[in-house]
Subunit: 236 residues, 2 copies
DNA sequence: TCTAAAACATGACAAGCGTCATATTTTATT
DNA sequence: AATAAAATATGACGCTTGTCATGTTTTAGA
């Protein structure tokens, strides 16, 4: 963590002057986590601001009876806990877990806000980032409030292709390992329902494989399922 | 709009210097709306940044088949369309409607971001505001994904008491006019379901009245319904 | 390679909530 | 005060999804 240019890898820090990065370098700690660990738990004090450096992190909320929702899956460059970081003294409203090997940067809230005050461009960037996140959260609200299970799952698969997949012979292979349970938690359905729907999707040749190697075969058709609104003019 | 101190009424603008408010005063337009009108519609170009000055505004998303979700009810001082304001050229992802008489301030996006770059304190304040909004949106996700209709409605009533009610003889009277349909749209259930549940709540003396004068009689019990998690240690 | 654990799969059944239909009451407007 | 429109109310019915139970397959770790 000596060389401040390490931070350049993180988009946010491209916007601050080199001298500022120098200063921040001393404040930033990097920590590695592996599956099964917690980056922080619900209720922990929210002292730090976090950034994903490598790997994938999920933000999870758990209800009293053990049910879970995954609020968001975060990838390198993503900030997390922005929401908690703003409450003075309040604890984390959810927990953060690595999905595999991850590396996370951590910066004390105070240092973070001070840096932003000295770097208005970075502050505006953070505003835009939060705006995007808020927009995503609102889309999710719409989906949960108005759409059925099939539609939600189809929509999720489409967005996963867009966010983290590679083309291969047959379609788009997801580069994140996601079990049916993971998928279920992301869209507010049960694991059994996710399994059943994925079964149907598989039989309809829309997808193939399981967590280890989940591939989307027919993206257009999934898109159609996700937004049944749009009356496709089929010429047949 | 000549006197820049008009803007002082808006918390955000307290953080900028008087000279800055002077400059902004020229950029800000105030518009009044009444029920039935639209402040903007889904799909309109998002050129402006909005702030509620007086009254109540709701942000709504509509699905292709006419169903609606209310994302958020905004009160004086609240910013809206922060989420849309960040996308260059993209249209509004939802619409904004007045709930009664409202007055709205409007500021061109460019002017807004420039102001923030010159006023880092205001920028940090906006970051905190967005953080809070994001947090709320995530809570909503949790509610929609994990809770049943009764629980959602109870939770909504509790938060409405906290946000906009006055004490009266029997309980907390809401100061916003909300029909059962409004309530339903806020928590992703149908109007009929909302009516039925409100009926039960009324019979159980938890609430009374309708939109015109909706009063919460038994807040503690509603809170309990909203988070059944917490095992109340009842000493009987 | 073996073994335990996790993930995937499928069925039966019930609950919850949406849908549609119809009726009454309240509110707003002339 | 009269009338139309909106809001509240209630019932019958069925679909979607959750729940629970049980079994098979895959994955990970010793």
């Amino acid at each position: 963590m000596k060389n401040p240019d390490h931070l350049k890898a993180i988009p946010l820090f491209n916007l601050v002057k080199r001298s500022e990065r120098q200063r921040l370098a001393g404040e930033v700690t990097e920590t590695r986590y592996r599956k099964g660990q917690f980056i922080f738990r619900e209720g922990d004090p929210a002292e730090f601001f976090h950034i994903v450096k490598e790997g994938t992190v999920k933000c999870v909320k758990t209800s009293s009876d053990g049910k879970e929702v995954t609020l968001k899956v975060l990838m390198p460059g993503d900030l997390f806990c922005c929401e908690a970081a703003v409450f003075d003294g309040s604890p984390h409203p959810g927990c953060a877990q690595p999905m595999g090997e991850v590396s996370v940067l951590r910066l004390r809230k105070k240092a973070y806000f001070e840096m932003l005050k000295r770097n208005p461009d970075a502050a505006v960037e953070v505003i835009k980032y939060l705006g995007t996140r808020l927009h995503e959260a609102q889309e999710k609200t719409k989906v949960l409030a108005l759409e059925g299970a099939d539609q939600r799952l189809a929509g999720l698969l489409v967005s996963l292709v867009e966010r983290s997949s590679v083309r291969d012979e047959s379609g788009y292979r997801l580069t994140v390992r996601l079990t049916r349970q993971d998928l279920a938690n992301m869209v507010g359905i049960t694991t059994e329902t996710a399994i059943r729907i994925m079964g149907r999707f598989k039989r309809a040749s829309l997808v193939t494989g399981t967590a280890k190697r989940l591939t989307i075969l027919d993206l257009p058709r999934l898109k159609q399922l996700a937004s049944p609104s749009v009356l496709q003019t089929s010429h047949s």
